[in-house]
Symmetry: C2
Subunit: 517 residues, 2 copies
Amino acid sequence: MNTRNAYALRARTATGTRPAAAAVAAGTPLARPLPAVGGGAAAPAGASSALGSHALTDRAANARLAYCEESVKGRFDAIVPALQAIAGLPRDADFPERAQALAQARLGYALPESVLASAWIAGPDLRALFAHCTFGALRAAIAQFTQDLLAQRETARDASNFFLDCGFHAVDISPCADGRLKGLLRYILRLPLSSFTWHKAYAGALFDIETDVRHWMAAELRRYREGVPSTADANTRYLKVAVYHISGSAPGQEGCAAHGSNEHRAIDAALERLNQFRQAIENSFCCGAGTDLLLIGVDTDTDAIRIHTPDAEGALNAYRYVDNAQVFRDTQGLSADQARLAVHEAIRAAAATAGWGAGTGEPHEGMRRLIANLLINNLSQIDYVQALYDGCYPDVGHAERYISVGDGFEEVQLRNISYYSHLHTVEEGAAHLDVGIKIFKGLNLKRGLPIPVAVHYRYDSQVPGARERTIEKVRRVAAAIGARYPDLSGQGLLICQLSVQDRPAGSPLELVDGGTL
Amino acid sequence: MNTRNAYALRARTATGTRPAAAAVAAGTPLARPLPAVGGGAAAPAGASSALGSHALTDRAANARLAYCEESVKGRFDAIVPALQAIAGLPRDADFPERAQALAQARLGYALPESVLASAWIAGPDLRALFAHCTFGALRAAIAQFTQDLLAQRETARDASNFFLDCGFHAVDISPCADGRLKGLLRYILRLPLSSFTWHKAYAGALFDIETDVRHWMAAELRRYREGVPSTADANTRYLKVAVYHISGSAPGQEGCAAHGSNEHRAIDAALERLNQFRQAIENSFCCGAGTDLLLIGVDTDTDAIRIHTPDAEGALNAYRYVDNAQVFRDTQGLSADQARLAVHEAIRAAAATAGWGAGTGEPHEGMRRLIANLLINNLSQIDYVQALYDGCYPDVGHAERYISVGDGFEEVQLRNISYYSHLHTVEEGAAHLDVGIKIFKGLNLKRGLPIPVAVHYRYDSQVPGARERTIEKVRRVAAAIGARYPDLSGQGLLICQLSVQDRPAGSPLELVDGGTL
């Protein structure tokens, strides 16, 4: 197979620091010197107060996340100004050299020599350069997140143990594929990635039941054969979580596109899918096939969550939930202990909901502890958005940087970084892909920029031949994308990067040749 | 969903019996009166001696299988002569009525009224009628095989128990998708369908390792959770079988197309895949993940098998096998007991192969019993082909009646009945489908007849919503087939039937509207 290991943790050339971000970083022992992100990128508003004001806010984490958000987004934002500067250079014999120096200084990496060398004929191919730089920024982001992930191994173990203490041997979470939920685990719920057995996004959170039944089987088999993470006779459960989203400021326009920005439809569809999953397990594997369900809603303007609390029998309800934005408001100014108590009180109050939201009582103790933990974690994120963006993101709608096709880069956890289309074939995923192309017609084509598409699949190196088959798959899917949008790809307005990766979280990215420029 | 339960065990109007087949049927208590198969179909040559001459031949089974083969193929063969007769009818006001009567008399079912009613304009649409009749014959075949399958439930249980006695708790068999292996289980190996945990055909027997690992997991989980068919601590194994094929009379032309009719390539590829499967299980599930492997070759001219015998460590070898054609010749004229002894002796002799085929000794006792059983079963089939076709099928090459796309009709077990393309999307299976279309250009288009394509998937009714999703899938795949061959489908030269079916063997076929004419 024709591949190369083109992934490397590139040391970025630091050419300066930016005061606002430096102030953020300085507040925490985890602070690292800020790498250059190039000119033109605006620092997040109010960055200096990013530490947060709520008693339960994890200020160190907020500072680290602000640094991460700024540096990753900064790399993408630096691309257009840098290319504009390069476009303005005189196209003489020194052009390639000068362009290269400019790229190194402002972006931190080189541009493809061949594109620069032929620039004297009809100018530099700026579309090709834009795609090259977008994928470069993406790979830098992957490197940064991966490094972070590896450093957090202990936290991940702690989280797994916490889940087990709560009575869950596996947690399978399916958010909507919307780009605004891309930071769900790391930012919104503040959970380390690898503590989750599975994490896969689907349009409208409409996860695939057949796939999830297989995940359930794999988790069960592991318990029976290896006693990991709990033995088969331990009374632990498989937790399936679905995450939908709404937009508080523009509920009818900026909600979930898959459900026509209709909150009720989004909730009902997620609830139906969750109940179908539990039913499928019970029908196929009879008694004792205990699964717990949880439904979470995210307001993508503020990152505040609401958690639909199961009743004593595990049943969920559209009208019974804890609204964490309300909890945040109610607990501001309280001490940490008082605030914690208030969170637990809110869960109890939700269980006592009357009318349409009425249930059979409180969920089991482990579930209550889990919910309290998620709510408290999310308070830090509400505070983060409050401090950095005055409580509401400036990009309420779409502002994705690239389209992610295939298994996606699970390491890259950042809001609005990509539009994600999880698919195995374009034939099956065409409708979802069309939506992505439509979004990027507005975001990129309108400005004359091409649409960068990162086609990425993971393989299991323990299965002989899996890598070769996955590389074939990446090529097949990329070819099918080109065939579906012949006008765009013919004009160089749709540019793919092809890559594969071994399954364990943090495995190196391997570029597949023939995909990028 | 817009479907109808159009499947019914149609009582076929018996208008006469055919002497040769009646003689076959008379020799056995299982004989049933022959349904009319219409004029024009030739009775198999030498049908009256189909009982077989070898001491180990199961004559009753041979008679039943000959009846089945003749009646099923007869239904397909009756179509063209009947339509020719209909084409010759005067196209006056009585045409629809007369055509309908002729169809009922010679085919046993009605033709679509709408096609006959508009015949006065430009003649009857014979392509549409041909497809209608082909699918009618297919559905009748499914009905016949299903009835037989349900009657054989006890035999299936016996076979499963036999496998378990031999030390196998699951048997997963992957033959090549070639139409000439379509009768593998029922004719060549004489095994009841439902005794197999899994049975799926792939071009060149190149089964999908990821799918099979999932099957392995499902079988393991069932043992751990339910103790079915053996408990997890019982020392039983998962048996994976691959089946390749050759053509004794035209080895370089009529062998396996997926391997360029190259016997060595076919064997090496199957061996590699089998070993990869075992490796994948061992790597992913560590110790104790015992799997046994078996490789079988079929000469599609004579249906004689060769079984590659594992050595004492379970290793297979291209050059170590028992050639059952040889065993058949060597044991002719012997008593049943002598012949049985000779079979066991042949297995011992294979284990003692020297040179390239040398191994570490005999396989374990259960494996030896299984191999002996398969060889003895196959002796009946060699005798069957000997008696009915003088030892070599007249259709050495392709003579399929329709293209089967999707999960296929596993109940329909008959040589050369269909070209089978197992796929989930046309995007993935395009190459394989192209081969099928090419074959049918020679078989049907050359004669002016359209290509009938039966798109069929199974669903699991225990999983909520699975039926609806499968119906959507059938429609998607049929649309993709139409899109891939627009010239053919535009001219009515490629006609699809769409259907779904619940998972348990023998479940009724459900036609999906909008697919057929």
